[in-house]
Amino acid sequence: MSRDTQIREQPKTHEVRIRVNGEERVTEVEARTSLLDWLREAIGLTGTKKGCNEGACGSCTVLVDGRRMNACMILVVQCEGSAVTTVEGLAGPDGELHPVQRAFSACDAYQCGYCTPGQLISAVACIEEGHTGSEEEVREWMSGNLCRCSAYPQITAAVMMAAEELGR
């Protein structure tokens, strides 16, 4: 391919196909728009929270193609063809809570609730990854989600409880 066809004046926005909580979307975004800001400000999925905007707190954790990631560290343009799951996508279509959500409630694994969407998504992934062999393992693999209310012992207990329910 020739350089001339590669290096060109680009449009100000990019069209991106992205599936969010099962819904296919085609969106026009600037290249610099983060997945986090897009979810919150463009399509109104405000369950995903902004805490640090640098990957240091985990409150924006979402699933991208099944893996947990910090939405603040991803550009929407990088998500072409990807499937994203946010906290709004955890409960069943009938509103039935996910086992992880139920375990968080049972264990009182949240207080102010701001980090909770990220904790929940991270917990779903932690269980799916198989990192629930012991409380110590859960604590390590849930350490990417800061909780300043410090509900950590309850979060760990909830992840263990949900893992058991999910047969992991």
């Binding site: 600037e30 610099r32 728009t33 800001d37 919150r40 400000e41 109104g44 999925l45 405000t46 369950g47 995903t48 929270k49 902004k50 805490g51 640090c52 905007n53 640098e54 240091a56 707190c57 409150s59 946010t86 906290v87 709004e88 955890l90 409960a91 809570l97 959500q101 968080f104 409630s105 049972a106 009182d108 949240y110 207080q111 102010c112 609730g113 701001y114 980090c115 909770t116 969407p117 929940l120 409380e135 859960v138 604590r139 390590e140 849930m142 350490s143 990417g144 989600n145 800061l146 909780c147 300043r148 209310c149 410090s150 509900a151 950590y152 012992p153 309850q154 979060i155 760990t156 207990a157």
Partner: protein, 719 residues
């Protein structure tokens, strides 16, 4: 439970009623709102910590596509008087050209998108005439006198106290101990940074704010913008962590002023770095404690000196000497100073006053116990204060002796192994400390409606900062009215509801009490309408749609604030003890928490489930303070070195083991509130640092008197 003799909701473990909202992402925090036409705001902060602004060139920033306006001080509408609130700043933002701390707002960028606003921020070109900064250790020290003295003290805490001749008593004491203790500046770092969304409609203002004291905003903005407080509508149901930093701050005023200036809603969500300068911090403090005792460890004299940094124009006193009621001691001498340096205003932080104070006092008590060769717990019992040692008043309730005993039993304190035993690379040590907390009571207001369908609605303008307050209110109402708890709902977080106290701490006392009183009024109203015992049958029989009770929980003498029971004739405080076991790796300087017990005498526990969470979270705060948290200033520019969550550590999940036992002594404080409860939320963090330092000493034999206990400090001490 529909009969009055089965009132067991209070005291039972209840699951949070707001849970489904928080667990599904449906809970709307302030920055989750976006009215049509909203502009995104980003603050431009001063890059010098001292000096003045010479020029601000906004042309390049304004030229960025999407930028609507860049406001400097001249562009703001005229601002009326800023009200003076305890612990809040008073200096108007962007007024005049003087810079008093790095990061002080000098301009606001407003844009159609967040991306455009952030792009434009560094393009605002500001020229400064810099002046020398003032760093801790070099600032002007100021002794703060009585509150009616120079007017700089805004609360009655931290006043000098002297009984007896401390110099003579120290001179003659058979055993003397003296040491200085340092703790660094620390930031609250709630995971939700502060945010304000302001929307004007003529002279009516709607605010979505991340706040834990929303009742401050209507009077404040009424004063500043010359409007009726009733026209300030504050919507703040969910606040993503407060910990003391979400009262009134100038960014809120700037967002409101900017919205007025441009005639569009303005959304200002502080970036993490901005928060380091905008909403306070717990200030760097140096404390000196001098103790004199007899050979059996009975205290004869206690002297405590404290100095904390504060800003050049804003005054904050961290009242660490408010721990002086912990022990019986004939001679007590405490005093505090502030030191003015070029930083922003400090503020209360979980847990203010006693948190810092007990780091020093309880460390000193542990060291004294070692000097006289007495078990640290036994030394504390020998100096147990049966009544308030300052006033001689009886305690409203105090079961610290029971808290010690139960905590020691749960921990196995008396049978604990000698310090320094080895487990692989780790050396194990144990330590303990007491906790004492002040009691700040304020009036609260609530309205309770019992409808003919049997449902109950509690209405009060509390904000949910995570304490579980709404759930507690339903428990109180269930027992007071005698209806099933599942019939009860709460409307909160909106200034159209009855105004109540701030959600700094102890909010169960003010608003929980108000709910209890409102329910009692409701029952009286109901009794006048129907003689039926069952309230739901009664309201139906009365043929009315609803019966309403609304009450304010007044304090004795009608005071606005009561400190430590001052208005009651009793001394009112909370008490507790923490026991910790740590592992220290002396080669690598690591300290890890292995297990702990917190045992508390804090009045009646309304909801053991959420109370336990409060104390566990608070315990983790104590661990963070003991071992990792510190915000350091650059010694040349007086800028915070790290303004993020990567360069400043707060505990992560892996730091906090599951083996932490929380124990509440069975207690009911009849004097503290109509519901027997006192404030607990911050209290679990108190004394952990001293217990950890003692455990480190027990493990490896070195005393660390400057927090946090990091690998660097440990290796330096062990070298």
């Amino acid at each position: 439970m529909s009969s009055a003799d089965a009132r067991t909701a209070v005291g039972s473990a209840r699951t949070r009623i707001e849970g489904p909202l928080k667990l599904t992402g449906a809970a709307r925090y302030s920055m989750d709102n976006l009215p049509p036409g909203t502009l995104y705001a980003v603050l431009v902060g001063a890059t010098v910590a001292s000096g003045s602004v010479v020029t601000i060139d906004v042309a390049e920033a304004k030229a960025v596509a999407g930028v609507v306006s860049v406001l400097t001080g001249e562009d703001l509408p005229p601002l009326g008087p800023v009200l003076e609130f305890p612990g809040a700043p008073v200096k108007k933002p962007m007024e005049g050209d003087q810079i008093h701390f790095e990061g002080q707002a000098v301009a606001i960028v407003l844009a159609e998108t967040l991306e455009a606003a952030e792009e434009a921020r560094p393009l605002v070109s500001v020229a400064y005439a810099a002046e020398p900064v003032v760093l801790p250790g070099a600032g002007e020290r100021q002794f703060l006198g009585a509150p009616d003295g120079d007017g700089t003290v805004w609360w009655p805490y931290g006043q000098p106290f002297a009984r007896g001749d401390s110099a003579a008593a120290l001179e003659s004491a058979p055993v003397r101990f003296a040491a200085s203790y340092v703790q660094p500046s620390r930031h609250h770092n709630p995971i939700e940074t502060s945010g304000t969304l302001a929307s004007w409609d003529g002279d009516r203002l709607t605010l979505w704010d991340s706040i834990q004291a929303s009742m401050l905003l209507p009077p404040m903005f009424a004063s500043v913008f010359g409007i009726d407080p009733a026209d300030v509508h504050v919507i703040a149901p969910f606040t993503g962590g407060g910990f003391g930093c979400k009262g009134f701050w100038m960014h809120q005023l700037l967002a409101v002023a900017a919205a007025k200036a441009v005639g569009r809603p303005v959304k200002l969500h502080l970036r993490r770095g901005d928060q380091y300068n905008a909403t306070g911090f717990q200030p760097l403090m140096t404390q000196r404690v001098e103790l004199g005792a007899d050979a059996e460890g009975h205290l004869q004299v206690y002297r405590h000196r404290v100095a904390n940094i504060t800003g050049m124009v804003e005054t904050y006193l961290e009242a660490a000497t408010e721990v002086k009621a912990l022990y019986e001691c004939p001679v007590i001498d405490t005093a505090q100073e502030i030191e003015r340096v070029t930083v922003g205003m400090p503020s209360p932080m979980r847990c203010p006053n006693e948190g810092p104070g007990l780091w020093a006092l309880e460390s000193a008590i542990n060291e004294l116990a070692h000097e006289v060769g007495i078990d640290p717990l036994e030394l504390r019992l020998r100096n147990y204060a049966e009544k308030d040692p300052l006033t001689g008043r009886p305690w409203s309730s105090k079961k610290l002796r029971e808290a010690y005993a139960e905590g020691a039993e749960l921990f196995g304190w008396h049978g604990r192994p000698r310090g320094g035993r080895r487990d692989g690379n780790w050396l194990i040590g144990t330590g303990m400390a007491s906790a004492v907390g002040g009691t700040m009571r304020m009036p609260g207001t609530a309205r309770v409606r019992l409808r003919s369908d049997g449902s109950v609605l509690i209405e009060t303008d509390v904000q949910d900062i995570g304490t579980g307050l709404q759930t507690l209110l339903t428990q109180i109402a269930a027992d007071e009215i005698g209806v099933p708890i599942d019939n009860i709902d709460v409307a909160w977080g909106d200034s159209a509801l009855p105004t109540t106290g701030p959600i700094y701490g102890s909010s169960t006392m003010h608003t929980g009490s108000a709910v209890a009183l409102a329910c009692r009024e409701l029952r009286r109203e109901l009794a006048a309408l129907s003689s039926l015992a069952d309230p739901i049958e009664a309201v139906r029989a009365a043929g009315v749609e609803e019966v309403v009770g609304e009450r304010t929980s007044q304090l004795p003498g009608g005071v606005e604030v009561d400190h430590d029971g001052g208005s009651t004739g009793f001394s009112m405080r909370t008490f507790g003890a923490s026991f910790v076991e740590v592992a220290v790796d002396p080669m690598l300087g690591l300290v890890r928490l292995r297990r702990a017990v917190g045992s508390y005498s804090v009045g009646r526990i309304i909801n053991p489930k959420t109370a336990r969470s409060q104390m566990l979270g608070s315990f983790a705060w104590g661990w963070g303070k003991a071992t990792m948290e510190a915000s350091e200033l650059d010694p040349t520019t007086a800028r915070w070195l790290s303004k993020d969550l990567a360069g400043v550590h707060i505990p992560v999940n892996a730091d906090i083991p599951g083996d932490i036992t929380i124990n509440f002594v069975d207690e009911y404080d009849h004097h503290a509130s109509p519901i027997g409860a006192k404030g607990i939320g911050e209290f679990g963090s108190v004394g952990i640092d001293a217990a950890v330092a003692e455990a480190v000493f027990d493990a490896v034999g070195v005393r660390i008197r400057e927090l946090p206990i990091t690998p660097k400090r440990l290796l330096d001490a062990l070298a």
